[in-house]
């Protein structure tokens, strides 16, 4: 049985309340950190743990923390990015809803490590009921002396605030999040300066994902080395995966990194196999923005090795034949699903969510959506496929924030792996409205390496 570090007590009755959480070993990490560890010790343990950002980019958390500037007399801030809006990703909601105190405990320990005295949870506006859960939990934490002045007599002060977004995906981008938290329009900022130097109110700031912060609790409790013992290579510890699509058991799973994709999809412990016994057609392993994988690249890499649920293995082969672990939004498609329609759906999302700041993204996401819509509804031309390719190429890497990349990658990967299905939409416009294309043919990867 795989170990659960975050969701171990998720099913315990009343775990969302302080008393039950405390009885189940809650706030021990705070006790340990404040009593017996210096902030540097905590950072050191996190570095040792090999914990990587769970929001999608997978940047080593300990290293991110060590970048924070520490000018004399300037307050620092820890922001928790709970603006979980990536289609296919719902793990943070589950965690906050079930065990809100775990996040709060993680916030206290992490804030202590970073030397912050006021920290913020920026939560997705649509998660209003989760916000209420968090607020209740924070009030309990204050009432029990885990927040506020002189926490548990340690001399350390921390105020924790929750602030809801207003329904914009872009505010999950860390600098847009900061702008939004400052009360401004959520437009991403140019970097440099990086938030670690000039973030919230121009002060040094660290922005971490909910799951990342929660993972600091077991790391402090059990030590970085013990955490690092789980997983494979540089993918250490456990990861929450939001599984959805045509599988038997959609839901949030905590996996030990290194589990094989095959096991994850087919074992009863996790997704429980394909629904209705259909064949698997494609998989988006890390949220809507990561490249989609065709059936023959899901459980095996292009090199024929078993594909594992790790940062490295999922990315094996680069964008030509790999994808990304991303935020862990694992979407499975069976043979009845239409890739063009799915890509159009994703594009519609990014078109709707582009902030409008950079020309390529503002105009480009709109046109990708329009062109894909045309293809899906049988009005497309063969040139449209090249046009789509052209648009995504000029968005990728050419915007201030990664939303542009996130919008471009799914389109690029869909064309890369499923071009014949796009062409079929052009060639047989009527049939594409009535039926679906089915599986695509396997390819070798030198030929499609774009």
């Amino acid at each position: 049985m795989a170990r659960k570090l975050l969701l171990e007590h998720a099913q315990v009755e009343g775990i969302h309340t302080y008393d039950v959480y405390r009885k189940n070993g809650g706030y021990k990490a705070v006790e340990k950190a404040l009593k017996s560890m210096s902030p540097e010790d905590v950072v050191e343990e996190v570095k040792k743990s090999g914990l990587r950002g769970r929001g999608g980019a997978g940047f080593p958390t300990g290293m991110k923390w060590s970048f924070i500037a520490k000018p004399e007399g300037v307050p620092r801030h820890l922001l928790c990015n709970a603006d979980e809006s990536e289609p296919g990703t719902f793990k943070d909601r589950y965690l906050m809803e079930k065990i809100p105190h775990l996040l709060i405990e993680g916030m206290i320990v992490s804030s202590y490590a970073l030397g912050c005295n006021s920290s913020y949870i920026y939560i997705r506006g649509e998660y209003m009921y989760v916000l209420q859960i968090l607020e209740r939990a924070i009030a309990e934490a204050y009432a029990n002396g885990w927040l506020g002045k002189n926490i548990q007599g340690s001399g350390y002060d921390l105020d924790l605030h929750v602030s809801p977004g207003a329904g914009a995906y872009i505010c999950g981008e860390e600098t847009a999040l900061i702008e939004s938290l400052e009360g401004k329009r959520g437009n991403p900022r140019m970097k440099p300066p990086f938030p670690a130097v000039q973030g919230l109110w121009a002060r040094p700031t660290v922005v971490n994902n909910v799951e990342t912060i929660a993972a600091v609790v077991p790391i402090v409790n059990e030590g970085g080395d013990s955490y690092a013992a789980i997983g494979v290579g540089k993918s250490t510890g456990t990861k929450l995966i939001s599984a959805s699509g045509n599988i038997n058991k959609p839901g949030v799973y905590e996996i030990e990194l290194g589990v094989s994709v095959e096991e994850f999809i087919y074992s009863d412990q996790y997704c429980g196999g394909m629904k209705n016994g259909k064949r698997i057609k494609a998989c988006v392993p890390g949220g809507s923005s990561v490249p989609i994988l065709p059936h023959y690249l899901i459980t095996k890499t292009a090199a024929g090795e078993s594909r594992l649920m790790t940062y490295e293995s999922l990315a094996d082969g680069g964008f030509a034949s790999g994808s990304m672990l991303g935020s862990g939004g694992f979407i499975v498609y069976d043979e009845d699903q239409c890739i063009v329609r799915n890509t159009w759906n994703f594009s519609r999302f990014y078109h709707h969510e582009s902030c409008g700041q950079c020309s390529p993204c503002r105009e480009g996401t709109g046109w990708m959506e329009k062109v894909l819509h045309r293809l899906e509804y049988g009005h497309g031309k063969m040139e449209d496929i090249d046009l789509l390719w052209d648009i995504q190429r000029q968005i990728e890497g050419n915007t201030i924030c990664p939303l542009g990349d996130a919008a471009a990658w799914p389109v690029a990967a869909a064309i890369r792996h499923f071009r014949e299905e796009f062409e079929w939409h052009v060639n047989e416009p009527k049939r594409c409205l009535e039926t679906n294309y089915g599986l695509v043919k396997e390819k070798t990867f030198e030929s499609v390496n774009a």
Partner: protein
């Protein structure tokens, strides 16, 4: 190697902090990288991505595309500004932008001056591959505003207008609403220009790369014959203007980006309020009062009449029966001529200028403490200061371009102290707003000095080495009764203490002051205390510090520099000093008087006492703007000869016996000296209206008419003459003034001076001069009977008497003078917003519309005198500064009541 990067594999040195865009443009030329969202006077924004370039770490190695506008150059990198990849990218981006842009270039205002058009041409768009889809081409135009226009169907979402509104003006009216494809610019909370809080500065229009935002003058159109660079005629900021003319008429005005003073910015007066210059009300013929009527006459007739009258009065009485008021709106050369005429041709020192009624206490106070009556530093110093203290000034209305810079400082959270009875716009952003009772500046500044000494924050080294008189001064300050001063000012002492500490401990602090300092009975004393504050904290003589008066009129500095003062000749030389006297006599080739002449208020008294028979006034409407109107008018009416040289039939001109039609700044050459001592070129844009003459030429004509040989008015030769007598103009030459002028003192080799008193003061050591608070006579005499204090102010849209601005569309934006009154006082008198209020002082009364506001405290009222319909100066007093005789506009004891006329009138209209 540490500062070398490669462009197309060629090594070049880059400057520290240089962006790739600036680097490549510097090396390869301005047009090498196309841009859309980049503007030189705004921060890089990186949104259009058209400026993208390829960057590699090794020669011809793998490249990364980066936006060059905001990416700093990294040593050793290889930049490929126009690789095929990048060229394709640019083309694709522009193609996308064009999918949502009306391609109606031929009929567009900015045809041939459109950045989108230029960039599209440069990247070579031949075809837009996108099928027609949803677009925003049906957006409605906004033509609601007298000046600003918008047509957002042409918007390309570059954010330049939003950034200009934020970063240049700081008004935050424009913003982006909607996301992605729905992104669109809104004004305020999605209203029109007219309804929004727009201050019509036009920065957005100038920043807009297309014609999405423009103005009614189509200032971005290329349909003009010529552009002439000149200097604005309104306030003392001295904005450079680029005036486009067509068919001999002014078409539109923009602000040049390379102007040192205003760098691409100006306000609605400078940019839009030029319509007065050919307004039908312009006087276009000399007039002489015959049988009680002003009758048009020829120039010759006017000249000989004037000369005869002057000669008659000179011989019947004495030259001292003649006086002149020169104009701070005129050029240095004209002011120089005016005082020269009075001194050398008439033979009297009775020459003054409107500096008397604004900054004469500044000149005097700073001369006594520092030796020079002018701003010690430059506006550019705002970039280097940590703290600004603004005393008795409302720069966002009175000096909008400097005001915007001060506001930017405050909005960045940098220390800002405002001392003002009104909650001015700047006060709303300030850390400390010391909202004192009008007329108590001296008390408040003494408290600040007290706390600085008490806290031990004096700059001992500076005091020791650079100043004198400190010990005595310190004793005087410490003797102050703080309890008493606190109750006099009405400001919490703790707040004053904190502000004093902030000013003294900021490292570099600049003070700015305006007429709220000078137009008081203790104006000169207040200026000296401001100087004391600067000296005691060592804030003099380097970047980012100093005492910086915000001069009111475009050339009020110059008028005093040129000697339009009764006690000092050209270059501030004392006229009673025999050496100076000899120097002037030799230079002018005439016999000059040795005694001081009349200041403006003394002229009125002299006239009423039959000691003055003739006055010549250029460009000043004293009947509307000088205090105690009835007193002024009766004095002017009593004169035998009253020459008014004007653009319009002002309230003063209506009293004249002779009217001479002068020319506006757009119709003449010369120089103006701005508030930071910058001598800048005024260049003729259009010919003077038929029948009018440049004021300098009129003076020259009369000088010649009276037998003094003076060559025709020409700025170059005039400046040559001035540089021979005014010491600090020594190296000033018309031909060498260049685009941005020079700041005096200008030495022989032509070098100007940005900062005064760097090594030593003009008078050697700075003098500490202490002064105690003394209640104004106005309050002492009338305070009981008239318990309210009205203080005068200015609004952004209008300039002083409004003779010019009321004849432009500014009058559509702000239509009338109003009385600012707080809720408490209004309730006490049953006054509602918009009611007519009768404001009565010991001199007279006026009816004025009330505006209930939190800008003033109980007991304090405030109003403007831009409109002759109100003539607020009917109630202001003749009390003036004890030293410089600057009138006390800012403290007038009044009483208020709901106007009877309005009160009676209202029920009647309701009944019928």
């Amino acid at each position: 190697m540490s500062n070398i990067a490669y462009i197309n594999n060629r090594p070049h040195e880059f400057l520290p902090g240089e962006t790739i865009l600036k680097f490549v443009k510097r090396i390869q030329g301005e047009r090498t990288i196309p841009t859309l969202c980049d503007v030189p006077n705004l921060e890089p924004f990186g949104s259009c991505r058209v400026c993208s370039v390829d960057v590699a770490l090794v020669q011809n190695g793998p490249v990364k595309t980066q936006a060059s506008c905001h990416t700093p150059v990294t040593a050793g990198t290889y930049i490929y500004p126009s690789s095929d990849r990048v060229k394709k990218l640019r083309k694709n981006i522009i193609e996308l932008v064009l999918t949502d842009h009306p391609l109606d270039c031929l009929t567009c205002e900015v045809n041939n001056n459109c950045e989108l058009q230029t960039v599209a041409a440069e990247v070579g768009i031949r075809d837009v591959r996108y099928p027609e889809g949803k677009n925003h081409l049906d957006r409605k135009k906004d033509l609601s505003h007298p000046y600003m226009t918008s047509d957002f169907s042409k918007c390309i979402n570059c954010f330049r207008c939003v950034r200009a509104c934020d970063e240049v003006q700081g008004q935050m009216v424009l913003s982006m609403a909607g996301r992605g494809f729905d992104s669109h610019i809104i004004k305020g909370l999605n209203t029109s220009f007219k309804e929004s809080d727009c201050v019509s500065c036009g920065a957005c229009a100038q920043a807009c790369p297309t014609s999405a935002i423009s103005d009614v003058f189509e200032s971005k159109s290329v349909a003009y014959d010529e552009k002439v660079r000149t200097v604005c005629t309104y306030c003392g900021v001295g904005c450079n203007l680029e005036v486009a003319k067509k068919n001999g008429e002014v078409k539109s005005i923009q602000a040049p980006l390379d102007a040192a003073v205003n760098g691409g910015h100006t306000c609605l007066k400078g940019r839009f309020a030029f319509g007065f210059y050919n307004h039908q009300d312009r006087i276009t013929s000399p007039m002489i009062r015959k049988n009680g009527e002003l009758t048009p006459v020829s120039w010759d007739e006017a000249y000989s009449f004037i000369a005869d009258e002057f000669n008659r009065i000179k011989s019947n009485y004495s030259p001292d029966y003649i006086a002149a008021v020169s104009s701070a709106r005129c050029t240095n050369e004209e002011n120089y001529l005016m005082q020269k005429f009075m001194r050398a041709v008439i033979g009297t020192n009775n020459v003054d200028s409107c500096a008397r009624v604004c900054h004469s206490p500044t000149a005097l106070g700073m001369q006594r403490t520092f030796g020079t009556g002018a701003a010690t530093n430059s506006i550019v110093d705002l970039k280097f200061t940590n703290c600004i203290m603004v005393i008795g000034a409302n720069p966002t209305a009175g000096h909008p371009v400097t005001g915007a810079k001060l506001k930017q400082h405050a909005m960045k959270g940098k220390m800002t102290i405002v001392i003002d009875p009104r909650k001015t716009e700047l006060a709303k952003y300030a850390h400390y707003h010391l909202q004192l009772r009008p007329g108590t500046n001296v008390a408040l500044l003494n408290m600040m000095l007290y706390y600085i000494i008490q806290e031990g924050l004096e700059h001992k080294e500076f005091i020791e080495s650079r100043t004198e008189g400190y010990e005595q001064f310190k004793e005087g300050v410490l003797r102050q009764n703080i309890d008493e001063l606190e109750s006099i000012t009405g400001v919490d002492r703790e707040l004053i203490r904190k502000a004093a500490i902030a000013y003294a401990s900021s490292g570099n602090a600049m003070s700015f002051h305006g007429l709220g300092v000078t137009e008081h009975s203790q104006g000169t004393y207040t200026v000296m205390l401001i100087a004391d504050l600067a000296m005691i904290t060592g804030n003099i003589g380097r970047r980012g510090v100093g005492v910086n008066p915000l001069r009111g009129q475009n050339n009020v500095q110059g008028a005093a520099d040129m000697g339009c003062q009764p006690h000092q000749g050209a270059g501030y030389l004392d006229v009673t000093n025999s050496d100076n006297h000899a120097k002037y006599e030799a230079y002018y080739g005439a016999k000059l008087p040795l005694h001081i002449g009349y200041k403006i208020p003394q002229m009125y008294d002299a006239s009423l006492n039959d000691k003055l028979k003739a006055m010549w006034v250029i460009g000043e409407d004293m009947a509307q703007t000088d205090p105690n109107t009835q007193h002024v008018v009766s004095a002017l009416k009593k004169l035998d000869l009253f020459i008014v040289q004007e653009l319009f039939m002002t309230e003063t001109a209506k009293l004249a016996t002779v009217v001479l039609p002068g020319a506006s700044f757009l119709e003449k050459d010369g120089t103006f000296t701005n508030g930071e001592r910058r001598i800048q070129k005024v260049q003729k844009v259009v010919e003077p209206l038929p029948g009018t003459k440049p004021d300098g030429q009129i003076i020259v004509d009369i000088m010649n008419q009276m037998g003094y040989k003076q060559p025709d008015y020409n700025p170059s030769t005039m400046l040559q003459e001035i540089s021979g007598i005014v010491p600090f103009f020594e190296g000033v030459k018309w031909e060498e003034l260049g685009k941005n002028g020079k700041q005096w003192p200008v030495n022989k080799s032509g070098e100007g001076t940005e900062i005064l008193h760097t090594e030593s003061f003009k008078i050697g050591k700075g003098k500490f001069i202490g002064n105690n608070f003394r209640e104004s006579e106005e309050i002492l005499q009338n305070g009981k009977e008239f318990p309210y204090i009205i203080t005068t102010n200015r609004e952004l849209e209008h300039y002083n008497c409004g003779a010019m601005t009321r004849r432009t569309k500014n009058a559509e934006i702000l239509k009338e003078d109003v009385l600012l009154i707080c809720k408490e006082d209004a309730d006490k008198h049953f006054i509602q917003d918009g009611d007519l209020v009768c404001v009565e002082s010991a001199r007279g009364k006026v009816d004025i519309k009330a505006k209930i506001t939190d800008e003033v405290k109980p007991g304090v009222l405030s109003s403007t005198f831009h409109f002759p319909e109100i003539m607020l100066n009917n109630i202001t007093s003749s009390v003036s500064d004890s030293e410089a005789m600057c009138p006390e506009y800012k403290v007038v004891a009044v009483n208020i009541r709901k106007s009877k006329g309005q009160y009676k009138h209202q029920p009647q209209t309701q009944l019928s």
